[in-house]
Amino acid sequence: MERNISLTVNGRQRELEVNDADTLLEVLRDGLKLWSVREACGVGACGSCTVLLDGRPVSACFLLAARLDGRSVETVEGLAGDDALHPIQQAFLENDAAQCGYCTPGFIMAAKALLEEHGDPTDDQIRDYLSGNLCRCGGYPNIMRAVRAAAARTSDR
């Protein structure tokens, strides 16, 4: 059945008609054309569709949109300003942390949640936090470096 929900997406409030079976991923991608939110496993196991729900990282493929009335969602599209990348994006860029780049938005959103929780994370904390995001290109060492650099940059500010 169809129902109306109100969802804040990247700071903008949206009134959306969703089907009970629609996942958050379907609403963000198919409905709002936020193409950074990517399905890769469909079962919440790979992190490619990681978005922030009220600031917490979640797998958008594994949440039903109809249950999210009144909540707030953030995707990579909400990060960069008109003329500057977000410090985490900048750190990923400078540390060559994107190869094929398909998993990158999910990693960046997970890293954002990590750095909001731990301003100066240890390597073990980074590994724990990002272990639910998979990168088949095997770019993990550069992703580690990028997150460390982003932590240094955000804690300087």
Partner: protein, 777 residues
């Protein structure tokens, strides 16, 4: 090293901003107006006859535009319903029979993915199960159920022209090599080592699953946007299947979310093309992760190795390799051939016999997987190298160095080795892991050990890359190439090569994405071949443009073109930089106008001497070799069998590192992927049904599986014909991981495991068995 302006520099990726902002275009983001979505009904049986299909209720379901069966396709006039790169053995949709669980049977195109999926539930298919063959060694027995009664030739590739199917057998290809007198050497041997190694089927898991989109345009041409590593092949194969000229089909490929071999040849393209033709509307088909597991896999193998030793020398080796190619040959015969001839290793062994078999079973088809079969044979031969070295009381590193082939030596096929940094890779990897330092002491139940492995791969030859370079009047340039950017950095690397050759700034060179209407033929973006082949083609094309440009300048300045050089977009007299002009001035000098371009074309087409069918000998079986060595330190818990990799050093010969940063990423990335394949990845089947076909049940390496010390070692032994000496490095880091880890395991705890993955359970069992033999508990 020569003085290059941009080659050898670690420039940033062109696509980095798009990727960190998520704006990058993938086929999945494309939504032309009127788009239909595809869902496909798949076989629940590993082998069955299709008795009856009733699709009438699905056709009448809401939102359904078309329902297609294999019989429908076979009945379309002028359409060839079978395809495949080695044999045309795979129907687009099953015809009469299904040969593996998950084979595509009925396709629906509907207004939404959900409508298409709901319509599938209304399709009725009646099957009559047939006897199933699943094990590769069972499949070669005389009474085994036969997977294909008849095999149609393909003819798609020159290097497979010799591939001919056998009759009434599951062996669809047999590669054979005979060198020296193996029987005599075994009869005279001091010691004989005999081992059987296995590797299971596994999955590529590109994070972007397969996705293809097709539409028929106003002029009736078929347009395909597809996540493919082989746009040129897709165009040619579709033209053949649809019975239309090649220029009636246009294939475009945007950025790929990973490939690793999974996205080669035809996958979803025939289905979307046929449905677009049938409905007259755009059609998109994207696979779920579960469907990925049913689409293409890594070949499982059984490798039997027998090695004769006399004194301290290896005198003979006999290799039997059985490749499980699943229900369709895919590119199996090429893998069986190319990897087959390297399966005795890059070592001095005077007498060798190799038999490499491509075998059908009722499993999902196995195809190319980063390394093209070579990781499987190195897993076997470089595990056995350690067994032999230990058996002889030799140091494993020294034993390899003593036997390793070097410059000018003949490979087992009779082809001379050139530019193969094998020994340097071994030495540097061994140094990095601290090979000569004493082993770390045991701590509680934990034991540490070090392992090394090496090997080589021969690049696919013959193959073809064409490129066009267009110089614009303002000094910017376009490079037309069908190489697919899938994360390896080819776009930036080809721009580096073009900029270097032209003497133009890197940021003024744009590389056009594959579009078969404009970018020339390229065999495949795979097999570590693009840097060399496409790199050479781009360099040649750029050199032709430069020649025209220099002629224009030379005419105006009234000097010899040979006295000119170019740098930073300016052409000038060597030694007198003030005498020269910009590209724009050169265009005005030559054409009197800026409304034109200078165009050059390049073609790289290495050839081979065909192998003797009986002996496998060839004076030239490959264009170049690339060497790999891995050195690892592991810690094994003797109580649980858990193995942790503490240090990983991935060494590989790049020839010349055009971009050192990308070379390092490729080495580490390939090693990380294969660390997962070594330690835990495997597709598990029961009665032909896949038990772990999702990422909940099939684990790949995460950030936690990468050792804190994970280091690339880029060896550079320039190739005489490579672009600036470069070869390829996309697979190199993958080749030697499994054997290095198994060798370290034995070093740590004294047990030898001959089957990957090296799970805790397997190691625990091996430890238990060893304790029993040693009289313990």
């Amino acid at each position: 090293m020569a003085d290059y302006s941009i080659v050898g520099r670690p420039v940033d990726r062109r696509d980095a901003v798009q990727k960190v902002t998520g704006r990058v275009l993938h086929v999945g983001n494309m939504e032309p107006a009127g788009l239909l979505h595809v869902a496909v009904l798949r076989s629940p049986h590993p082998h069955a006859r299709i008795v009856r299909i009733d699709k009438s209720r699905a056709e009448a379901a809401p939102g359904v535009a078309a329902v297609l069966t294999g019989a429908d396709i076979a009945a379309m006039p002028g359409i060839t319903p079978y395809h495949g790169p080695a044999f045309a053995d795979q129907p687009v949709l099953a015809i009469d029979r299904v040969r593996h669980e998950g084979e595509q049977v009925v396709a629906v195109a509907a207004e939404s993915r959900r409508a298409a999926e709901e319509a599938l539930e209304l399709v009725e298919v009646e099957y009559e199960p047939l006897p199933v063959v699943l094990d590769v060694l069972d499949a070669i027995k005389p009474d085994a159920p036969i997977v294909h009664d008849e095999i149609r030739p393909s003819g798609a590739f020159a290097d497979l022209a010799h591939v001919k199917a056998g009759e009434r057998s599951n062996i669809c290809y047999h590669y054979k090599l005979r060198k020296g007198d193996v029987d005599k050497a075994f009869a005279e041997a001091d010691r004989i080592f005999e081992d059987v190694f296995t590797a299971p089927p596994a999955q590529h898991v590109p994070m972007e699953a397969h996705v293809s989109l097709a539409y028929v345009d106003e002029g009736g041409r078929i347009n395909i946007h597809t996540a493919s590593q082989s746009p040129s092949f897709v165009r040619g194969e579709l033209a053949r299947m649809l019975g239309v000229p090649m220029n009636r089909i246009r294939v475009r490929v945007p950025y790929l979310g990973g490939g690793y071999g999974a996205k080669l040849y035809n996958k979803l393209e025939p289905i979307v093309a046929l449905l677009a033709m049938k409905t007259g509307r755009p059609v998109k088909y994207s696979l779920s992760r579960e469907e990925e597991f049913q689409t293409v896999t890594k070949h499982g193998v059984v490798v039997k190795l027998k090695t004769a030793v006399k004194g301290s020398a290896m005198t003979a080796r006999k290799c039997e390799v059985y490749w499980d190619t699943g229900a369709f040959a895919e590119i199996g015969p090429r893998i069986v051939h190319k990897s087959g001839y390297t399966s005795s290793g890059p070592y001095k062994i005077p007498n060798v016999s190799i038999d490499s078999y491509c075998v059908y079973t009722n499993k999902p088809p196995a195809g190319p997987f980063r390394g093209f079969g070579v990781p499987q044979v190195i897993w076997a031969y470089d595990s056995q190298m350690d067994i032999v070295a230990r058996g002889l009381g030799a140091d494993p590193v020294e034993f390899r160095l003593e036997h390793a082939l070097e410059e000018g030596d003949l490979f087992v096929t009779g082809t001379p080795i050139h530019a193969c940094g094998l020994k340097e890779a071994v030495r540097r990897a061994a140094d990095a892991v601290g090979w000569d330092q004493p082993k770390a002491p045991a701590s509680g139940s934990k034991r540490r050990g070090k392992g090394i492995a090496c090997g080589v791969k021969a690049v696919l030859t013959p193959s073809i890359s064409g490129a066009i370079v267009i110089l614009n009047a303002d000094g910017s340039a376009n490079v037309l190439s069908s190489t697919v950017e899938m994360g390896q950095g080819s776009e930036s690397l080809l721009a580096q090569i073009a900029a270097e050759e032209l003497g133009m700034p890197f940021d003024r060179v744009h590389v056009v994405q594959p579009d078969t209407d404009v970018t020339p033929y390229d065999t495949i973006s795979a097999g570590s071949r693009s840097t060399y082949h496409m790199g050479n083609a781009v360099r040649m094309a750029a050199a032709k443009v430069k020649e025209e440009l220099f002629q224009a300048v030379a005419g105006k300045l009234e000097i010899d073109a040979a006295d000119l050089e170019s740098r930073d977009g300016r052409v000038f007299v060597r030694g007198a930089e003030e005498r020269g002009m910009t590209v724009t001035e050169a265009f005005l000098a030559k054409f009197g106008s800026l409304g034109t371009t200078m165009v050059g074309e390049g073609l790289c087409q290495p050839v081979v001497t065909p192998m003797d069918p009986e002996t496998g000998m060839s004076e030239k079986c490959t264009e170049y070799w690339f060497a790999s060595a891995s050195a690892v330190e592991v810690e094994v818990d003797t109580e649980t069998g858990r193995l942790e990799v503490l240090q990983f050093h991935a060494a590989g010969d790049a020839g010349t590192a055009i971009n050192p940063k990308y070379c390092e990423q490729q080495l580490v990335g390939a090693a990380t992927m294969h660390l997962g394949l070594t330690l835990f990845e495997q597709m598990v089947f029961q009665d032909g049904q896949l038990l772990n076909g999702s990422l909940l049940d099939y684990q790949i390496a995460s950030i936690k599986d990468v050792p804190a010390a994970c280091h690339p070692i880029v060896v550079e032994v320039p190739h005489k014909d490579g672009p600036f000496g470069a070869k390829g490095i996309g697979e190199t880091g993958a080749l030697t991981v499994a054997a290095a880890v198994a060798n370290a395991l034995e070093d740590a705890v004294g047990v030898r495991v001959r089957d990957i993955p090296l799970t805790a359970e397997r190691i625990h069992e091996a430890l238990k068995a060893a304790r029993k033999v040693n009289g313990g508990t």
